[in-house]
């Protein structure tokens, strides 16, 4: 092999300026700049731009934050006490500056309510989502009956969220054992046969904001509203699953359930 280094690309020059260049390319880029005046001038100009931008706007971050951006105030204007509970958790992260705020057992709850509940729901998802002939006890065509029956068994008013907007059709539902009694289980399917399930049961855990959990190929979004917990499970990417969870959440919220949007 020759001694000549690989030529330096423009992308590498940007990465160099932005501190994203892999360490092993540093000396190559520096050698390149020493012998290529045009590129050296470009790099110098980019650095001057960075300095000018920081000089112009950097100080904004040290100004006192105006009252209207005060999180406490904004939170009090929230829709409901539950929003406030979610917001308080959110605020803790904003002020704490924590990255990766949705993690398993993040709030020190340990492998208790949250973990076991979602794992129960994911297990149910895994068990029934692959079922071809008998995925549900009551088909989606009898949705009214299904919802009435499950509501009676779990002891609170349920509804089967309408997820048509996301291309999901209600396959149906079934009754399952839950952690403290009965659990309701709804199954949805898109046109390619991909299935999503919603599991709901009474929970004695505290209210939580939406949380995310993964178990093998399945993942789930979980939240507690009052004394009822909901888990939305699927095998989709998180982004897609979060849309399903968001739509379900909105419709389970008694304040927004009957409106088209919130």
């Amino acid at each position: 092999m020759s001694e000549r280094p690989l030529p330096v690309t423009e992308e590498e020059l940007h990465a160099y300026v932005d501190g994203e260049l892999p360490a092993e390319r540093h000396s190559a880029v520096e050698a390149w700049l020493a012998s290529h005046q045009d590129d050296a001038a470009r790099v110098a100009a980019w650095r001057a731009q960075i300095e000018a931008i920081r000089a112009r706007y950097g100080a904004t971050a040290t100004e006192p934050v105006p009252a209207r951006l005060d999180l406490d105030r904004l939170m009090r204007r929230g829709r409901s006490w539950r929003t406030i509970a979610a917001a308080a958790a959110f605020a803790a992260f904003v002020f704490g500056g924590a990255a990766g705020w949705i993690v398993r057992g993040a709030t020190g709850v340990g492998p208790s309510g949250f973990e076991t509940f979602t794992l129960d729901a994911i297990d149910a998802h895994k068990l029934y989502a692959v079922e071809v002939r008998h995925p549900v006890e009551v088909p989606g065509s009898e949705a009214d009956h299904l919802v009435q029956w499950l509501s009676k068994r779990v002891g609170y008013d349920l509804r089967a969220p309408d997820l048509k907007r996301l291309g999901l059709k209600l396959v149906g539902g079934r009754l399952l054992p839950g952690p403290t009694g009965a659990a309701a289980f709804f199954m949805y399917e898109n046109t390619t046969g991909e299935r999503f399930t919603i599991y709901s049961a009474r929970s004695n855990g505290p209210d939580t904001a939406m949380r995310y959990n993964v178990s093998g190929k399945c993942s789930a979004f979980y939240w507690v509203d009052g004394d009822v917990a909901y888990v939305v499970s699927g095998q989709a990417e998180r982004e897609e699953l979060s849309k399903v969870a968001a739509a379900a959440y909105e419709q389970f919220d008694p304040r927004t359930a009957h409106k088209g949007n919130s």
């Binding site: 940007h14 932005d18 000018a52 904004t60 951006l69």
Partner: protein
Amino acid sequence: MTIPALRRYARALTRDAETADDLVQDTLVRALRSEHLFHGGDIRSWLYTILTNLNRNRLRSLARRPTLTVLGDDDAPDMAGPEAGSRDIERALASLVDDQRAALLLVVLEGLTYREVAEVQGVPIGTVMSRLARARAQIRAFLDGERPALRRVK
């Protein structure tokens, strides 16, 4: 500690203090509505994402109502010294396409990695790189074009 950074980003993005704080407020209100709470990942990136999208929407609706578009006061006399430099960079930023400006500011002002910017803007890293490259080339050309005006004042 996140809110001051959001204000900084918004200020540079809009180059107007009031508009910037409006954006930050809208971002926080939207974030506090819990249906938006569950995208996961880094909360800072997520807030930058909301703010970037809100700003894009804002610019779109401004474009639909051209009479409301606020233009820089280009009639103001050029000044020498640091003031002139900061006005130059402001106008250079204003000359950028929105997505390029956001990419550049997220990298150089907010310190996001290319990967994070790709996530915020919802595009591949290669697109972030080309936005960055175009933004830098445009600012350089803009400032080169401005320079004669400054020399005249000297």
